[in-house]
């Protein structure tokens, strides 16, 4: 699974996710990536893209949850990502990346490693795999 989240210079957020799904999956199986609110979500507040165990991400409506926690609990982006990864996955293993309309970027995962990269307009740039 691959994904990208962006907030542009006008503060508009967007998210996109694409995948081949699970190795040895049943034909016709649908995962979280195409499900808006589960694998992908964007609104005025943030943009989110998820990856990992699709069934756990779907049950946790993971991407929308980040936006909801920001809207209703008033948490910041990274705190919302940490909360959702910690509280919404049950036994599932997954990761996600997110941006906020304020130009912040965040990510979180509860499995072994996540291929990710992030950058902000003030020059910050990071590419990583492990914790």
């Amino acid at each position: 699974t691959v994904g990208c989240v962006v907030v542009d210079g006008e503060g508009r957020c967007a998210a996109a996710t694409s995948t081949g799904g699970l190795m040895n999956k049943m034909s016709g199986r649908i995962g979280d990536s195409p499900l808006i609110g589960a694998g992908t979500y964007a609104c005025e507040v943030c943009g989110v893209s998820c990856t990992g165990e699709g069934e756990a991400i779907i049950r946790g409506t993971l991407a929308r949850e980040v936006a909801a926690v920001m809207e209703y609990k008033g948490l910041g982006l990274q705190d919302s990502v940490d909360y959702v990864v910690k509280e919404r996955l049950d036994q599932g293993k997954a990761g996600l990346i997110a941006v906020s309309r304020n130009g912040e970027v965040a990510y979180g995962f509860n499995c072994i490693g996540m291929f990710r990269g992030c950058a902000t307009q003030d020059g910050f740039m990071e590419v990583g795999i492990w914790e």
Partner: protein, 195 residues
């Protein structure tokens, strides 16, 4: 206004024994995609165009599980899915079960822009793609030698794997490859029984 920001991912759940050169390849690809996004943002492209541009690039490279290099079904074929969402107006588009569309994320964008729906799947999505004139290729284009081997390993282990690169030599304790009974993502299938 806090300025622009961008993040990309290539999948979670990485084989702890992933060889260093594969780790480097992944970092080079992630860096290349970040730079494509950064130069688009510096040219004031809107966020929705930038996410599509970057995911298309990721789909075209066989390194990660999407587009070319996608995971294989139990039949050894590729069935891809993608979605895209514009926070400005909360517009969205998604596709599932596409087998011959070269860029699933761009088809999802067309569902958002050119159809009355937000999600098309399988033969309906392929029909829409033909009508929109998007680039279509044989299913073989998406299949790599490595993934044919990975599918074989998964079948031998009677398991279903998410973005997991299991080591080619032996299965260590961390691998997602497990013995019977059938497991999904390294967990007993019963965990998903409610599904």
């Amino acid at each position: 206004m806090g300025g622009w920001a961008i993040a990309v991912h290539g999948g979670a759940g990485v084989d702890p024994n992933l060889p260093l050169e594969r780790q480097e390849q992944a970092k080079v690809l992630l860096t290349r995609c970040l730079n494509i996004g950064i130069s688009a943002l510096r040219s004031s492209l809107p966020a929705i165009d930038v996410v599509e541009l970057v995911v298309r690039e990721l789909e075209s490279d066989p390194l990660f599980n999407s587009g070319r290099g996608s995971a294989l079904t139990e039949k050894g074929t590729v069935e891809m899915e993608a979605s895209i969402m514009d926070g400005h107006g909360r517009r969205c588009g998604a596709v599932s079960g596409v087998t011959t569309v070269k860029s699933p994320v761009s088809l999802a964008r067309l569902v958002m822009e050119k159809s009355p729906h937000s999600y098309l799947a399988f033969s309906g999505a392929e029909e829409f793609a033909r009508r929109q004139g998007v680039e279509m290729v044989d299913n073989e284009y998406f299949i790599t030698e490595e993934n044919v081997g990975m599918l074989q390993l998964a079948k031998e282990a009677n398991t279903i794997l998410f973005d997991y690169r299991i080591p080619t030599v032996g299965f260590d304790k961390c691998s997602a490859v497990v013995e019977n009974p059938l497991q999904m993502n390294g967990l007993p299938i019963s965990v998903y029984a409610p599904e």
